[in-house]
Amino acid sequence: MAAPKVAVVGAGLIGLSTALCIVETCPSCSVAVLSDQFSPNTTSDVAAGILIPHTYPGTAIHVQKQWFKETFTYLFAISNSAEASESGIHLVSGWQIFKNTPKEESPFWSDVVLGFRPMSKAELQKFPQHQFGQAFTTLKCDCPPYLLWLEKRLKAAGVQMYTRKVSDLWELHSEYNVVVNCAGIGAHHLVGDEKLFPIRGQVVEVHAPWVKNFIRDADGSTYIYPGIHRVTLGGTREKENWSLSPDPDTTKDIFDRCCSLEPSLQGAQDVKVKVGLRPSRQSVRLNREVLSQGGVKLLVVHNYGHGAGGFSVHRGTAKEAARLVGECIAALRGSSSRAKL
């Protein structure tokens, strides 16, 4: 059979990283990325990109841990290379603080990040409202730089990018052998997945270059993540809220909450407000599907529904999706050789 044609739908973090994995594992494939949005207009561009996993209730912990470990290892190597600044990947240390001491003292990912340990009493003095904390070093992927870096590598590998709104996966059946659905929140309409719902997040980006450490309240709603050029202050978690318009009262609330953790932010300049819809699901949909109409088949691999944890597991799920694409191609080759008999 001729070079298998693979279309990846979606050009956010998941789409681009999945396309890259496919290129790496299937050099004979012809890969294209189709999306109505590219960086800086994807959901991924709004996220701070910090590697602190979100726990998916519907996925075995050891699987999530494997995804996180693969992602962390992959990014760790890039952060320690000459490409670090271009890729937007950098190490950052900080604290996760708890108002009340948690039952579980160490999360499943504590041995993947660096130097994980409980905060000392002296460290906790900085946060009088909080009783307990964890200190560690992790990675952050700044966007747009990371997405642009992925796009650059894809283009160098011959991957074509098309700005195109796909309304139905079936519309691709005549042009492509395999379609990889990385549509994120778009999958709600694209494939009618009712189990996928938005959790709206508003963030405030500021210029505060003296902030070198991250601070995250374990409730997940208040965080300060220093990026290369800007600090991301967050946030909100509004279930089933589809609005992409920034809300000024929310901005003030985020700012107040963050200033109570880091008073020096009062002097922060150049405020930008952004909104993203976390594509949330009990578990990431990572499986194969065969669409058929009138004897014609289209092989589909789904890789969406990463919710608040996309950055933390992206490489791991991309590799799994690429593996599933490999299975699809093997199946296609199998059926095409059978057809020759």
Partner: protein
């Protein structure tokens, strides 16, 4: 009561502030003046990256360890205040790297979250087999010195742009107490063979992705003679030379090459960093800080001099503790002068 501070680096300005804070209400006649031929941003302090970190060993000099602690605690107390950003004060975490295990430093309990590095962390730094991680403070003098100056001017302290040639010159003018914060050039006012330059050179780059300090140590090379990378609020400082006895303040191409290559080896991502500035300065190095009182007589006049110089590469680290010690010495002089004042005759 006239008190003159000579020197407007971090030592001079902080000493002045400390003295004014403590005595201006007790001594209504207190007049504080600062004399210097060099002000921020041209002082030695301005060249320092601003990382709070003492040397590895205090050589049993507990006094200096105490002053370091007083400085850290004082600055930590200011962290939560709105002044912090204006002062150029912020927290920073990072790494100290060694080629062999070393004992914990005197300051392990002063900084926050001090611990040894894990094997995975050491993978980041090939060639180093042992190290520490901790959170410390940055105090950038290009912000801190103007902030101190501002506070002093608000308090009515007078500034003079002038090179003081001798203690006599100042005391003949009517100054009662001189605070000698002349750093590297203290020898010009009074010879001090123990005071030697520790020449340093730094390269300032744009590398905002660097969020940690990395300080390497080599037992053969000695302190600061091994690469270090310190992220500031705007620039990242690359350094790692400490040449004893070298008085040159000219940038050396050889030192640039050494610093650049060794820092890039330590942190490969620096290869893409843009160089913004290069600077050389002289650490006023001494076996111990000279912080003591001296009565200098000339003719029938006596001048009280409080020496506060010789802080080497840890001036910012130790400055507040020394400022308070200098202020205490001023206090003892004030007490003596009160005792020396004639009592009111009884009627």
């Amino acid at each position: 009561m006239r008190v003159a501070v000579i020197g407007a680096g971090v030592i001079g300005l902080s000493s002045a502030l400390c003295i004014h804070q403590q005595y201006h209400s007790l001594v209504p006649s207190l007049q504080l003046e600062v004399y210097a031929d060099c002000y921020t941003p041209g002082t030695t302090s301005d060249g320092a990256a601003g990382l709070w970190q003492p040397y590895l060993s205090d050589h049993g000099n507990l006094q200096e360890t105490l002053w370091n602690k007083e400085t850290f605690d004082h600055l930590l107390g200011h962290l939560g205040s709105p002044a912090a950003q204006e002062m150029g004060l912020f927290l920073v975490s990072g790494y100290n790297l060694f080629t062999q295990p070393v004992p914990d430093p005197s300051w392990r309990n002063i900084v926050l979250g001090f611990r040894n590095l894990t094997p995975k962390e050491l993978e980041l730094f090939p060639g180093y087999s042992y190290g520490w991680f901790n959170t410390a403070l940055m105090l950038e003098c290009r912000s801190y010195l103007p902030w101190l100056t501002d506070k002093l001017m608000q308090r009515g302290v007078k500034f003079f742009h002038k090179k003081v040639e001798s203690f006599q010159e100042v005391s003949l003018d009517g100054v009662d107490v001189v605070i000698n914060c002349t750093g590297m050039r203290a020898g010009e006012l009074q010879p001090d063979p123990e005071l030697q330059p520790g020449r340093g050179q730094i390269i300032k780059v744009l590398a905002p992705w660097v969020k940690h300090f990395i300080v390497t140590h080599s037992t053969q090379s000695g302190i600061y003679n091994s690469p270090y990378i310190i992220p500031g609020s705007e620039f990242t400082v690359l350094g790692g030379v400490n040449q004893s006895g070298n008085w040159s303040e000219e940038n050396s191409a050889q030192d640039h090459k050494t610093i650049w290559e060794s820092c890039c080896r330590l942190l490969p991502s620096l290869q893409k960093a843009k160089v913004v500035q290069e600077w050389s300065g002289l650490r006023p190095t001494r076996p111990r800080v000279r912080l003591e009182r001296e009565t200098i007589a000339h003719g029938h006049r006596q001048a009280e001099v409080i020496h506060n110089y010789g802080h080497g590469g840890f001036g910012i680290t130790i400055h507040w503790g020394c400022a308070m010690a200098a202020a205490r010495l001023v206090g003892s002089i004030l007490q003596e002068k009160q005792l020396a004042r004639p009592r009111q005759p009884r009627l």
